[in-house]
Symmetry: C2
């Protein structure tokens, strides 16, 4: 029985740790790299190791080239008194892309998931509380994805803020409803029921 | 507008060169590696570079730890006078897995594709001709995938062998027909017509 050489099997192992990649896809990836030029493999390996040099803003947790990112350093944004709490960098990217938000961000880096051992100390929860108490924050917008974990994390953060800061800080959650361009017939029942709840006078 | 740091964008670029991986999947792969432990990224990078140390049998082109692979070194297999021509290593693996072939292999490393600039000198064609002329080969089994390029490559190799070795070498192609466990209703018309052509007395 023919078997693949160790070098290729090790690489397949590495690829199969990526999200959504099984043994077959990993094998395809590894074999596709076999005849690539040396400099391309070197660049790939360098880019992987270079990930370790990515730095995050000490305030909000967004990727940044400086210790404090441009958003956290902006007086205009600080004055808004608004913090939008997101799970990860790409969520903040999406919100910035809409050009409708001019407050600060706070990246949690995950959502609560007791089964996977993710509690409040595994996400950037304490630093959020600290930012609220030290700065002049009047409003928190929770923009976590609507999932079981996202909902539980939102509820937990809301309760903690109300407990610690009472009425000084208002907590809001990003609106749930029909996506623009969506088709009613293909929407799931949960989204439709949220869209009906969130109807507004027209 | 928020943009991803250069380090992450470079890695996305590397991932998006993999087959079937677009910008979105590459981004997902890159971001999933952000919080991985250092040793895991190091191992991944090492495994990539280590691909360069994979060696091939000088005779047949299969991956091998020795200059001549175990199959090419086997007297029993050499005596068969049979060479099975495949496109790549994994094809030979599949044939070995069937336990029904006891001849030698020859890995072309590709199929003819004039539009992509792949001619006979880009694949292991000359070395195949050399093996036939130097060794006691009586039969060539073409086991290339049934595609436009595979068919053209098979036809080209057959013509060349007949031209150079006349009746001394018989050229055969692996059988086309219904796969075992397949369902007629889902088969494409080409496969059905090949299966009808290749019918045998029962």
């Amino acid at each position: 029985m023919l078997v693949l050489p160790d070098q290729i099997r090790n690489l397949i192992e590495s690829f199969s740790n990526l999200p959504g990649v099984g043994q077959k896809t990993a094998t395809r990836f590894a074999l596709s790299l076999i005849n690539r030029p040396v400099h391309e493999l070197d660049a790939f390996a360098f880019n992987l190791k270079n990930l370790l040099s990515v730095e995050k803003c000490q305030e909000c947790g967004l990727f940044a080239d400086e210790p404090i990112c441009r958003i956290c350093a902006s007086e205009h944004r600080k004055e808004s008194g608004l913090i939008c709490v997101v799970e990860q960098f790409t969520d903040a990217m999406a919100i910035e892309g809409s050009n409708r938000f001019s407050g600060l961000f706070h990246v949690l880096g995950g959502v609560l998931n007791p089964l996977m051992g993710v509690g409040p100390s595994e996400i950037a929860f304490d630093s959020l509380m600290e930012r609220i108490s030290k700065n002049n924050v009047c409003e928190i917008i929770l923009a976590l994805n609507p999932s079981v974990e996202g909902d539980a994390t939102s509820a937990f953060i809301k309760d903690e803020i109300l407990k610690r800061f009472h009425d000084k800080v208002s907590v809001e959650r990003i609106g749930l409803g029909m996506p623009v361009g969506g088709a009613l017939e293909f929407l799931d029942p949960m989204t439709i029921s949220k869209a009906l709840e969130n109807r507004r006078r027209f």
